[in-house]
Amino acid sequence: MMEAGYEQKDSNGERKDSGRERHDNNGERHLTDEQFTELLMGSRPAWVQAHLVECAACRVEAERVSGAIGDFAQQTLLWAERRAVVRPIRMAERQTAFAWLLHPQVWVAGVLATALAVGIGMTLHRDHAQPVQQAAATAQADAAKTQAETRNLPAGTTKVQAEAKAGSATLKADNALLTAIDGELRADETTPASLYGLEATSYKTGTKSVKRTSN
């Protein structure tokens, strides 16, 4: 069998130059692969029909191949229908497992809960920072007051006495600040007893207090 360029006819029965003609060993013309595919897909222009009437080989082959494809389609359909019935439908399971994610209310509630958690956290953080800040402010005020007093010492006070008094005041202010910080650190420590409300009035945590003793 061989192929050669030739004129074929379109759906209106007019000849066109595209396509290749197929010949058998006897020199008889047959449908090309493309024409055969078109034929199987239902395209049957007049000249193809005429050819099928004349050419028994093409007619038999077309019937055989289209019949086989038809059998295949029918059996696969029966197989798939049986398979679809045998297999239980799991749509409900799959739907209920993830259905809650599809509701917009879930997402809104999630966002609100996150915002609430962040808000509470920020508020607690701010309240927690206040005592130390207050102690620091008090200490700074005390130091400033002492320095002002030092400047206004009565006449006759020596420079050394004045400096000693100022240093003592600064030390006192620093100790007040450290005590405040130490108190905050102790308050953060959670003990098993405190968790269950068993803590006595003054539970010693063992945290060492830091105290400044000199400049």
Partner: protein
């Protein structure tokens, strides 16, 4: 995604997941099973496809048939599954193509004689064997055209391929089937 203007009939069809399953499961199962040659994958893909279509039904605007849309989704899901390493591993371990013996046990209704049924079964098996030798794209397009009887334009929509590409795959598939069935190709 294939775009679409939703008609009321189609909308109601998509709104009922059980109806969707009843109408399209078998057809999709056949398409995926004979396109991929993997029965287990077909089960999974069809399940996911119907669920995805139901959940995304608002994106369907009716510019194509529901089945074309479903086939498009199924095709994407097959590609997604095949990309995963898990699939690659299990594919090596267990090749689970549609069982030919199971298929050959399915006979058409008793309208034809036993001899005719046996002949039909043999011819169908020849086509199955021919398809196994094809690439997945060729098989898929062959099944869409000759088994699902989809138009070429619908196949283009479902696969995202150009018309010329679809025709080329189809020609090669038909040629292989002709050769197996005993034609002169």
């Amino acid at each position: 995604m294939i775009g679409c203007a939703m008609g009321e009939t189609i909308q109601s069809e998509l709104d009922d997941i059980e109806a969707l399953d009843r109408m399209y499961r078998a057809r999709l199962l056949r398409y995926v099973a004979y396109s991929t040659g993997d029965m287990d994958l077909a089960e999974t893909v069809v399940q996911d496809c119907l669920l995805k279509a139901y959940n995304g039904r608002e994106t369907f605007r009716g510019e194509c048939s529901v089945y074309t849309w479903l086939a498009h989704i199924a095709g994407n899901l097959v590609r997604d599954h095949q990309r995963t390493r898990k699939f690659q591993f299990w594919r090596k371990v267990q090749k689970t193509g549609p069982d030919l013996s199971e298929l050959s046990g399915v006979l058409p209704s008793g309208e034809s004689s036993p001899e005719t049924q046996i002949l039909a079964r043999e011819r169908a098996q020849q086509v199955t064997v021919a398809l196994e030798a094809l690439s997945e794209k060729q098989r898929s397009i062959f099944v869409m055209r000759f088994v699902d009887e989809m138009e070429l334009q619908e196949i283009c929509q479902a696969t995202g391929m150009q018309m010329s590409t679809v025709k080329t795959h189809l020609h090669r598939a038909v040629k292989a089937v002709r050769l197996k069935v005993g034609g002169r190709a």
